[in-house]
Amino acid sequence: MQKTVLKMAQSRRLTRDVWEMVLEGDASAFTHPGQFLELSLPEKFLRRPISVASYTEDGVLLLVRAAGQGTRELVTAAPGTEFDTLTGLGNGFDLKNHGEKPILIGGGIGLAPLYGLARKFVGGGLFPTVVLGFRSAADVFYVEDFTALGCRVFVATEDGSLGVKGYVTDCIRSFVPECNYGYVCGPTPMLRAVSVLPQLSDGQFSFEARMACGFGACMGCSIHTVSGAKRVCKDGPVFQKGEIVW
């Protein structure tokens, strides 16, 4: 973990509620895709935990769903706005043990950390299959960015307005039954549904939680695992399939 100041470089709106933000500053504390940061926002006591979509030494790319007043102010902040930030939080994804046929599965804003993961895999010569789920065509974002990396990308929308009609699980069953190791991030019901797909022998699941500290001190984000209570912020946010108690 590092406490540093990140500066807004640019942001742009991707859908009605999702924004892409580039923040500049010392991002050297990040070691794995799937880690997160905590931004301090004006007039909010608690920092906001946000998954990092990708990072370099000098900055981070964030994909942010502007759900509340705090995040709306964040995504619309003027270029040059400075944010006191805790960086390099959480464990992130393990890229080494990716099984035979890895598949990246993202639901909505949950695709954010998978983008950085896909970039790392592609940089190492591995081109994973990607399945992304959204509510409707109007909510779709970043599909072309995954495609541009050279990944095979499938899209599912709940109303069928783009790609496969239904959930990511429907898409996986129909189109990529051969994939057997999942990297998964999205809403908890989606994580649970993916975890019971019989074809996925193993995988890594990234969890969300309301947090206070973000670095393991307060136990505010603890979840049950087979080896007892684990902190989403410090022991996670990525947990191996076998650890998770649904």
């Binding site: 973990m1 406490k3 301090s40 909010k44 006591f45 608690l46 920092r47 705090g70 805790l86 939680a209 309301r210 947090m211 206070a212 500290c213 670095f215 393991g216 001190a217 307060c218 136990m219 505010g220 984000c221 603890s222 979840i223 049950h224 007892g228 209570a229 410090k234």
Partner: protein, 304 residues
């Protein structure tokens, strides 16, 4: 050179700054950031007899100038704390530790304190009769003077270490509870624990916290804590650890003027992991500005 040392019922601390229980874990995460030996002490995560997971998610909510928590005393239980956590804490902090002790019965409080009495690393027992986030059959020892006195007596009977009773602000007259603890033999009072609160999600129309209610902490509660420390200082002749919303060295001085001998820093650690370090570093300057050579001169200064 300002003398920052204070004495809590005979336990010497190099300064009055103490991270509050539940906001500092067992110190490990902070020891990666700075040398904990610059602190007066630290009060580690509250301990119960049996391991506890605590409440379900969500446990945390934002509040104006503060936060709500409903962690619910998550801890591995007294035996694991003594076997694993206390030896680990000894490696990162050489001074006397403060052990925050939880319980659901007189016997449990006494048994936990008896076990901790055998730990030389522990300097002070901070007996938590005030956690708002656990439901012990409706019984809350900190809300009734007789019950608070009973816990004090039960604990004092099994330990020679100084016993500080940690009080809840969710009472009509906190001074009355403090007097009951003092009459029962307490060596000091620690106050305040969190204020009971609730937030409701407009979208779901339901309380945000799974526990429905949680404890409010942060700068929002600071004036409440100062007022209650003032009240307790007027009521008892015991050392007071002031706690509640402290975020700066100036806040430490204010809490001491109200009557505190030492001060705990809680929610500020969660927002700024360097909060306690910065407060310790800024304290000599604040004392200089106030014209005191010994920080103990501040204690109770507002009552004169």
């Amino acid at each position: 050179m300002v003398n920052l040392s204070v004495s809590l019922a005979g336990v010497e601390l190099k300064n009055p700054v103490i991270p509050a229980s539940g906001t500092f874990g067992y110190g490990r995460e902070f020891a990666e950031l700075y040398d904990l030996n610059l602190l007066g002490s630290f009060s580690f995560k509250g301990t119960t007899a049996s391991p506890r997971f605590g409440n379900e998610q969500p446990r945390i909510a934002e509040a104006p100038a503060g936060m709500l928590n409903a962690v619910g005393l998550q801890n591995p239980g007294i035996d694991a704390v003594i076997a694993k956590e206390i030896p680990n804490m000894e490696k990162i902090f050489r001074g006397p530790l403060i052990a925050n002790v939880g319980g659901f019965s007189l016997d449990e409080y006494a048994e936990n304190c008896r076990k901790l009495d055998a730990c030389p690393q522990v300097g002070i027992l901070e007996v938590n009769i005030s956690c708002p986030n656990v439901h012990a059959g409706g019984k809350n020892f900190g809300c009734d003077p007789n019950a608070a006195a009973e816990v004090t007596k039960a604990v004092k009977a099994v330990t020679k270490k100084p016993v500080f009773m940690k009080l809840t602000p969710n009472v009509t007259d906190i001074a009355e509870i403090a007097r009951a603890c003092a009459d029962a033999g307490a060596d000091g009072i620690c106050l305040i624990n969190t204020l009971l609160g609730m937030r409701i999600d407009l979208r779901t129309r339901q309380p945000i916290l799974a526990n429905r209610t949680g404890g409010l902490s942060g700068p929002a509660v600071f004036p409440v804590a100062v007022r209650m420390v003032w009240d307790v200082y007027e009521a008892v002749k015991l050392p007071i650890i002031g706690c509640g919303g402290v975020s700066s060295a100036e806040d430490v001085a204010e809490m001491m003027l109200a009557g505190a001998t030492a001060v705990e820093v809680g929610a500020a650690n969660l927002r700024n992991p360097y909060a306690c370090k910065q407060i310790v570093e800024n304290l000599p300057g604040v004392c200089d500005a106030l014209g005191v050579d010994r920080i103990t001169e501040l204690t109770g200064g507002a009552h004169r």
